[in-house]
């Protein structure tokens, strides 16, 4: 990878020499057997956007949990000063943190979907007049707040009808309504499409003009360079470095994060695609809840044995719907065909799809991929119990042997297979999901955003795995929100726009600009 793609915005104001708003002073946090933070000292200056990066388990979330009171004052060593005062949060008192002026916008949004934007923003502090809520004032105040920060959301819209991007704006507005001086954004772009990311960046710059300080946590390193003033890298619970963004590069960041030179972010591959296995022709499909609305409006592509077809597209372009439709778990196919090895398929549900040799690693591993309260073993074997069933009984020895083989091959890090999935890191969870779908011995593996929210090291392992699988002749469809990844891993790239395949590019002719042009419908 060369440096061309890194955007260094020379016009962005440099880190202001303002006073220190948040000061971690020799903070150490220990768990039985593990030191999560070692003697961390870190200063955030007022008015800056401060990026924090590090692999999963580096200590980012521990830092955040101290700021939100999940690890209350007294359970860690050292001091945390906010605006010069020591922060003494009680157990799980996110309320106290808010009152102090610290607001956290989580990866998983915490809005009530069934009520309006305004109600959400003023939830728990509604303007009351003689015991009744003053709705006019509530919506007027909401509008005022939204105008001030240039947030484009209708105050009376129901949150469930908004896109993820606008939901996030609502969440930010809610934090601002609490008079937050420090806003912490935890993986804010993981669910956003590229255009929405741009929008978010604009909002963050507006906030900065208003003097709000931001801590920006992300796995997408490029983002740091378009928005942050300085970056802190954590590794193994230590602060490795804090530097002004303009002195850093993606390569340097990766180097600091993993502690080794990572010359290649994508492993080398020598793929030799074979004959065509999957043929999708002019596929149309309707929204399952609203059968008159077409979500897929004509998608055609072919997929060869041992090939990776990348699918790029903005949120709402129909990427995920395409995957689910092929897998038989979305709306009705209204037109078009799906052929596997020349045979036209009529897939009614996931069981059918599996029988035909299709597997799907779903986009949202926690909601669709895993039974989090169950063990690694039970999760891996779930779709494959038919393999181990003798008449009615599940042969648990065979189940364990096969599951263990996959767990070893994918290097799932856990002391044993009875560990519950909710205790695993994102990368390991994803490996469990992939294991369970590989065990069914697919001919075609559809991966919907397989590296979403996982760290650089685990990403690299998943990329290597993809190469191993193609070498075994498995055909892979890889949907991704990250253009880099699509470009780094695919043999061909299909770009989707508004439910259609806007174009299929050979990797040799694909560039970020070209893909974006197709995805946004300009090309």
């Amino acid at each position: 990878m060369n440096d061309d793609h890194i955007v260094i915005d020379d016009n962005a104001p440099s880190a202001p020499g303002g006073d220190v708003i948040l000061d971690f002073h020799n903070v150490t946090k220990q768990f039985p057997g593990v030191v999560a933070l070692r003697d961390v000292s870190l200063q955030i200056r007022r008015g800056e956007i401060h990026g924090i990066c590090g692999e999963n388990g580096a200590g980012k979330s521990t830092l955040m949990k101290i700021l939100s009171g999940v690890y209350p004052w007294g359970t860690y060593e050292g001091q945390v000063l906010f605006e010069g005062q020591e922060l003494r949060l009680e157990n799980r008192s996110i309320r106290q943190a808010l009152e102090a002026g610290i607001a956290i916008v989580y990866q998983e949004l915490t809005l009530v979907p069934g009520i309006t934007v305004g109600e959400n923003i003023f939830l728990g502090k509604e303007p009351v007049e003689r015991g009744a809520i003053n709705w006019d004032k509530l919506y007027a105040d909401t509008q005022h707040l939204l105008n001030e920060y240039k947030l484009d959301i209708p105050p009376q819209a129901l949150v469930k009808n908004l896109g993820v991007g606008k939901m996030q704006m609502t969440e930010i507005a809610k934090a601002l309504s609490e008079n937050a001086r420090l806003l912490i954004l935890d993986e804010p772009t993981s669910a956003l499409a590229e255009a929405e990311v741009e929008q978010l960046m604009i909002i963050l710059r507006t906030l900065k003009e208003h003097g709000v300080t931001c801590i920006y946590i992300s796995h997408k390193l490029e983002e740091f360079f378009s928005i942050t003033d300085s970056i802190t890298v954590l590794r193994d619970g230590r602060v490795i470095t804090t530097q002004p963004t303009r002195d850093l590069s993606v390569e340097k960041l990766v180097h600091y994060m993993v502690g080794r030179e990572m010359t290649e972010r994508f492993p080398e591959s020598h793929r030799q695609p074979g004959e065509i296995v999957l043929e999708v022709e002019d596929l149309h499909a309707a929204d399952p809840t609203e059968s008159t609305r077409e979500v897929l409006k004509g998608v055609s592509f072919t997929l060869r044995k041992g090939e990776v077809l990348g699918i790029a597209g903005l949120m709402g372009s129909g990427r995920t719907e395409l995957a689910m439709t092929i897998f038989g778990e979305y709306g009705k196919i209204t037109q078009g065909t799906v052929k596997l090895a020349g045979e036209t398929l009529n897939i009614k549900n996931s069981r059918d799809a599996m029988r035909h040799g299709l597997s799907l690693v779903p986009e949202d591993r926690k909601r669709h991929g895993l039974v989090l309260i169950q063990s690694i073993l039970r999760n891996i074997s779930l779709p494959n119990l038919d393999q181990f069933a003798k008449w009615y009984k599940v042969d648990d020895n065979a189940e364990l042997r096969a599951s263990r083989t996959f767990a070893q091959n994918l290097a799932i890090k856990a002391p044993h297979l009875n560990v519950l999935c909710n205790t695993l890191s994102g990368g390991n969870q994803q490996k469990v999901v992939i294991s369970k779908w590989l065990m069914s011995q697919p001919k075609v593996l559809i991966m919907d955003d397989p590296t979403r929210g996982i760290d650089v090291g685990a990403k690299y392992e998943i990329y290597k795995l993809i190469n191993d699988l193609t070498a075994q002749g498995i055909a892979i469809i890889m949907i991704s929100s990250e253009l880099e990844e699509v470009l780094g891993m695919s043999d061909r790239v299909m770009v989707m726009h508004a439910g259609r395949s806007a174009g299929i590019l050979d990797i040799s002719e694909a560039t970020q600009e070209h893909i974006m042009a197709l995805a946004t419908g300009i090309a």
Binding site: I373, L377, P383, H416
Partner: protein, 400 residues
């Protein structure tokens, strides 16, 4: 943390009971609570609580609602609920009593064996039909289980009144009464005990052999032997105690069979595994190829079957079909599951735990009765125990 090794510490084929035991830390706590309750009552009743007669009664008293709890575990595990089971069992009991009292004597006079068998078959059929009916509406027509079974509760209550016409129906032919009131002769009791213990040891050795064939690491032989011996001693102790009174009670034997079968089904069959996956994450289960409708339908059919068993034992045990048959049993069954660690959110719970929960409920009722505590206060105590037990669990989970 280490990567999974070939000789990882995963113990797979431990015997069924220990697997259940281990599955839930809460189970340990609840067993301790049960023993504590027994000790307290033994002291406060001056020892009569622990007499052979009372132990025998205690286990027999728990059977009717425990059949319902055995089925309820899987219903709650999938994230559902069945409010109709008490009245469904009551309905089965009055139908069976009706046949015993009014139909068979005219149709098949003097055919005691045949009429008893037919009564049982009718009871089971009615139960299965109830389960099929409710299960179909819940799974395929997608009406929430809470509503369907609430409606069922009223319908079966009405059914009870229609069948009995407000009167009590006698059901006391000797052979039929044996189902709910009978005892094994002491020698037969020992034969069953020896058979079960032999089966336990056979299963243990068989499992070890299979594991060896797969090349898995075995736990030391003495550990497995000691574990199995522990259960053998429990069984022997129970048989010895009840034999000094009347012998092993038939309904207890039936209940033990139902519980062991359902525990096995929940752990070792696809049907059971899918139930836990559905309760743990319905969407993930669906995308993993689990046929959710079919599974939930099946669970309600099984629940209906167990309502049938429960109703037959109820009619036989009481000797009558009454208008109040089965009243409130659904709440006892649900409480037993919850006490035994079944999560109301679904995905977690064991048959073994539910049986311990049922035993606690029965132990409380029985002990308070011996102490002559008025039934009004028995309810209050049971209510407090249920809430306290769940709070303890919540507290420990939060502060783990």
């Amino acid at each position: 943390m280490s990567t999974i090794s070939k000789n990882g510490s995963v113990q797979n084929t431990v015997s069924n009971l220990t697997k259940q035991f281990r599955a839930n830390i809460q189970t340990y706590a609840i067993i301790v609570a049960m023993v504590a309750i027994w000790i307290i009552f033994t002291i406060t009743t001056g020892g009569s609580y622990a007499s052979a007669q009372n132990v025998s009664n205690l286990f027999r008293q728990m059977t009717v609602t425990s059949f319902l709890a055995v089925g309820m575990v899987l219903v709650i595990v999938t994230g559902g609920i069945d409010l109709s089971v008490g009245k469904a069992a009551g309905f089965v009991s009055v139908v069976v009593a009706h046949f015993q009292a009014y139909i068979w004597p005219d149709m098949l006079p003097g055919q005691e064996w045949l009429t008893t068998i037919l009564s049982v078959l009718i009871g089971l059929t009615v139960g299965i039909l109830i389960g099929t009916f409710q299960g179909y509406i819940i799974s395929y027509l997608r009406v929430p289980a809470f509503i369907v079974t609430l409606g069922g509760l009223w319908m079966f209550n009405g059914g009870i009144l229609i069948v009995t016409q407000g009167r009590t129906i006698p059901a006391n032919q000797p052979l039929f009464s044996w189902i709910g009131q009978g005892y094994l002769r002491p020698t037969h009791g020992w034969i069953v005990a020896v058979g079960v213990v032999a089966l336990l040891f056979y299963t243990m050795f068989n499992n070890r052999q299979k594991k060896r064939r797969y090349g898995f690491e075995l736990s030391p032989l003495y550990v497995d032997v000691l574990k199995t011996a522990f259960y053998a001693v429990l069984i022997a102790a129970y048989v010895a105690v009840v034999n000094s009174f009347n012998g092993v009670s038939i309904p207890v034997l039936l209940l033990a069979t139902a519980a062991v079968v359902m525990a096995y089904v929940s752990n070792n069959t696809r049907f059971g595994r899918y139930a836990y996956a559905i309760g743990g994450n319905r969407e993930a289960a669906r995308l993993s190829g689990v046929n959710i409708n079919k599974n939930i339908f099946g669970i309600f059919v099984v629940m209906g079957f167990l309502c049938g068993v429960s109703g037959i034992v109820l009619a036989s045990y009481v000797g009558f079909g009454t208008t109040a048959a089965g009243h409130g049993y659904e709440l006892d069954a649900i409480a037993s599951c919850i006490l035994g660690g079944t999560s109301t959110l679904g995905g977690e719970g064991t048959v073994f735990g539910a049986m311990i929960g049922a035993l606690i409920m029965a132990s409380l009722t029985n002990g308070l009765q011996i102490l002559n505590v008025p039934s009004s206060w028995q309810y209050v105590v049971k209510g407090i125990v249920l809430i306290l037990a769940v709070y303890t669990d919540v507290y420990f989970k939060k502060n783990r």
